[in-house]
Symmetry: C2
Subunit: 240 residues, 2 copies
């Protein structure tokens, strides 16, 4: 992972920032960094850009490169790392994966909405995968996922009890690296209340969207209903 020049610079800077090396929250200028790391200014720029995207630092022309003070205070929130964008990986507690209970697993023709989302022809089949995820007897998410049969013809219930995306990656060399999600809230229904142990007035958070592979193929349409206390989506936005 460290054989690329700019990756090396990223790692080094990340480490230095976390160690508090830049007490005044100001980094050396790009030309100096280039000298220090013995790389070109272009490579420094590429590395810094990556850190900017993550919200760790920001730059101001004429002034310099600065550490985002929010990063230091909210470091846990920034750890949205991991190899893919699956839910299993999004939800971790001290590195522990949640328990998964399979509620349903069947094959059916794609409904129009699903058809469109996954770019399928009329009549094509999808798996419907219903799962409940929990941490220590506290269920927090009902997941209803649809995956085209033709993309993973050999799917079994066993694979589904674990991380589907890990399986795809390790056995099929398919990487799920993109997602398009809509986040909203909704009144809880009877099923939500039962499965997530909610009172009738307590709502659910809803995350709905499409996951797709590094080749741009939509691989899953997922509708997730979360216990409202467990849905916390953090987002860092920078314009310009």
């Amino acid at each position: 992972m460290a054989d690329l020049v700019y990756q090396r610079v990223i790692s080094a800077l990340q480490q230095q920032i976390n160690q508090g090396k830049f007490a005044d929250l100001k980094l050396p200028n790009e030309r100096v960094l280039a000298e220090e790391f013995n790389v070109s200014r272009s490579s420094v720029k590429k590395a810094l850009n990556s850190l900017i995207q993550r919200g760790m630092i920001f730059q101001k022309q004429g002034a310099g490169t600065f550490i985002n003070p929010l990063y230091l205070k909210n470091r846990p929130m920034y750890n949205i790392s991991g190899d893919n964008v699956g839910v299993t990986d999004m939800y971790q507690k001290d590195g522990q994966h949640p328990d998964i209970q399979v509620l349903g697993f069947k094959v059916l023709p794609a409904k129009p909405e699903i058809q469109e989302a996954l770019f399928l022809e009329p009549g094509e089949f999808v798996y419907e995968i219903q799962r409940l995820r929990a941490f220590d007897d506290q269920p927090f998410m009902i997941e209803d996922g649809f995956v085209p049969v033709k993309l993973v013809p050999d799917l079994t219930e066993k694979m589904i009890a674990g991380s589907l995306y890990n399986y795809l990656q390790e056995s099929r060399n398919i990487f799920v690296t993109r997602s398009f999600l809509t986040i909203s809230a909704d009144v809880s229904n009877k099923q939500d209340q039962k499965l997530l142990k909610l009172k009738p007035v307590e709502p659910v958070g809803v995350m709905e969207g499409i996951f797709f592979t590094d080749r741009g193929t939509p691989i899953e349409f997922s509708h997730m209903r979360l216990h409202y206390k467990f849905m916390r989506y953090n987002t860092f936005t920078a314009l310009n």
Copy 2:
């Protein structure tokens, strides 16, 4: 806005994509684009990178540059443009700004939580700005914002009835270009129900976070409670 080379390329490509010029969802390769636009490959790369960040296109080494089919289907969702990251600008309906009703406006010492979020010393003062936003008699958001007095000492109730950030930009040359938000859901309380016209079982969406200037100064801590039918946060995530 179009005097920069890569901006010109971005605009041109955006237009061509929206016009459906690339029926097979595949763009010409970088070297060809460079020739077509009479710019260097580096500039093409910079432009394409920007479109990738927005989720419009994606690239695959050895294969080419492709349009994200989701972009074409969800174009409205992608229009998160605008000059800053204020709420006034986030919520628009046919280009119309929402109505703003000022519920409260006062100065008080920052509570510990606010103090920390805005990097203030103990005892420093903040404005508390409470507003209700609506579209055509349908209120959709209760906003509780805190702004350090020292940053905008001359704030008046009149400015608050409009876009605070526009005022800062035009009169003070302060640009609010970054935000760090947490999105969640909550049971609605009495006030929510009254102001947002909600039934007791209907929930609110919650967006809470910090806005800050292009100099990294936190300028507002904001707590927003939204009518659950009006909170739809769209997010495109790409790893690697």
